[in-house]
């Protein structure tokens, strides 16, 4: 669709998924809708399970709220400075072409 935003997911093994979603959808929802493996999202986006962990591109910046920060301390894979929960990132035009790296494990 014309207004869709294109993003890329890259697995820990280097497999690449080019997908698109509409503005306002979360990065997690976009991954699930496009069958991207490695995003479990067991709680469905309630920021309750920490199983939609991604390593975010620089453009996202340090925008995680305190609550998400606390959740990120308990991800199954290593937490890095750019770790985010993808259910808390909404697609917007500035993310066109952004690349999200996936951790090896979510649970």
């Amino acid at each position: 669709m014309a207004n869709d935003i294109n993003i890329t997911f890259r697995t820990a093994d280097g497999e690449v998924f080019h997908v698109s979603g509409r503005a306002g959808a979360t990065v997690m929802e976009t991954a699930v809708q496009n069958n991207v493996p490695g995003i479990e999202a067991e709680c469905g986006g309630a920021c309750a399970c920490a199983t939609c962990h991604v390593y975010a591109p620089e453009i996202i910046g340090a925008t995680a709220e305190v609550y998400e920060q606390e959740m990120l301390d308990f991800t199954a894979d290593e937490r890095r400075p750019n770790s985010r929960l993808s259910c808390q990132i909404e697609l917007e035009p500035s993310l066109e072409g952004a690349v999200f790296d996936l951790p090896r494990v979510q649970v």
């Binding site: 959808a25 069958n35 709680c43 309630a46 609550y67």
Partner: protein, 412 residues
């Protein structure tokens, strides 16, 4: 080979199907769903979906072609009417399905209230219910909610956000009596009251006044009268156990009784999720749990059993969440009789946890806006070793640093 037939495409059934494939199971996998729509997340039905923040397709459990790609056959809009364990056949309304293994993941339906058959009375259990309720939540309308449990309180919060007037009627003397300790009930009560929800606890419904097939007001036994444009009944669930029970499976706690491998008393028939009753070692008793966590974890576990990869007993620590207004409530473990409670953090700051201990073991943690405590509690609750209460009483010490190590000392 006839493979595995899973009845019910909620969180438990879908997880079982997906996990079977992830485990390398090669036989046919069929998901029989009474609903005529793709599987979806249920928690948003009372929250973001009901509020209009999420569209139904955004809360899909999987992408549109995921099941097909994974060779999982979804039979939607299909009602299973009987199970015949002798011939290993699931009878559908319009045909039969042979199986080698059957998984009953039929969940639970919303309990109804006798005498509440009116056009403006709603229940909330599935997407159809949620869409109907959403349609009726007009700003300014007067919503009366019967039941001060999670469904009632989540809808109350959503409805207030949408600009409705809200009354909640709870027969017990406090909200969430089954799930929360008194201090948490009191806190939630105050937060709802501050947001303009009118709460009537310890209240009995005397009668309803209806006009032209619609309730117009609800009279309480304390002679209060609540005007109503619409009524939500949220008084708990009734497990859907007919398939198994009528075929002779044993039952308990309203559910189908399963062994540590999630097997019912019927050969090659398993039960998981809201409709299953089981002994949970982490709780030390037989339970039936209504939660996403339990559904997902049992879906994974049953797949492991069927695929022959797991031979251990099911023993996951229960956890649960609820979002109401600015409260993120997260609970781990199950309450025990005779336990003690301590507060960690400052209740007035809207960020605190209640720690429940029994004989110096941490048995449950109830967190409000404290993700760190909740996530840590999922590792601590159910540990056999002692919990360091003194260390944990200082909220500046991370709960995760108070791991109940075998020596009984705090590790951090």
């Amino acid at each position: 080979m006839s493979g595995t037939v899973i009845v019910g495409a909620g969180h438990a059934g879908v997880q079982a199907a997906v996990s079977l494939r992830q485990a390398g199971y090669q036989e046919p996998v069929r998901l029989v769903s009474e609903e005529d729509r793709p599987p979806y997340h249920r928690p948003p039905l009372s929250k973001s979906m009901l509020a209009g923040e999420k569209q139904p397709e955004q809360i899909a459990l999987r992408g549109p072609d995921f099941l097909e790609r994974n060779d999982i056959e979804l039979l939607s809009g299909v009602r299973a009417v009987a199970l015949d364990p002798a011939s290993r056949t699931l009878r559908l309304k319009n045909g039969n399905l042979a199986y080698d293994k059957a998984v009953i993941a039929t969940g639970a339906g919303a309990r109804t209230l006798a005498g509440f058959q009116y056009d403006n009375v709603f229940l909330l259990r599935n997407m159809q219910d949620a869409l109907a309720l959403k349609n009726a939540l007009a700003p300014g309308a007067k919503l009366v909610i019967v039941g001060g449990g999670f469904i009632g309180l989540e809808v109350a919060a959503t409805a207030r956000k949408l600009g409705l007037s809200v009354d909640v009627i709870e027969a017990q003397e406090r909200l969430l009596k089954r799930a929360a300790p008194p201090l948490l009930s009191d806190y939630i009560h105050r937060r709802h009251a501050a947001e303009g929800v009118r709460l009537h606890v310890g209240a009995q419904i005397e009668r309803v006044i209806a006009e032209a097939g619609r309730i117009v007001s609800v009279e309480l036994s304390n002679s209060k009268t609540l005007a109503a444009d619409l009524v939500l009944v949220g008084i708990g669930n009734q497990p859907e156990i007919g398939l198994g029970a009528e075929a002779g499976a044993k039952t308990d706690l309203g559910g189908l009784l399963v062994d540590p491998a999630l097997r019912t008393a019927l050969p090659d028939v398993y039960a998981i999720g809201d409709c299953a009753a089981f002994y949970l070692p982490a709780a030390g008793c037989r339970v039936r749990l209504e939660s996403v966590q339990n559904a997902v974890d049992q879906g994974k576990a049953v797949a492991g059993q069927i695929a022959g990869q797991v031979d251990g007993a099911y023993d996951a620590v229960p956890w649960f969440w609820s979002d109401q207004f600015d409260m993120r409530l997260q609970m781990t473990g199950l309450s025990r009789p005779g336990s003690a409670f301590m507060i960690r953090g400052d209740v007035e700051s809207n960020s605190f946890s209640l720690l429940e201990t029994l004989d110096d073991r941490l048995v449950a943690v109830y967190s409000v806006n404290t993700a760190a405590d909740h996530m840590a509690s999922r590792r601590l609750v159910g540990q056999p070793s002692r919990f360091n209460k003194a260390a944990a009483s200082d909220a500046s010490v991370p709960l995760k640093a108070c791991l109940a190590v075998p020596t009984g000392r705090c590790s951090g």
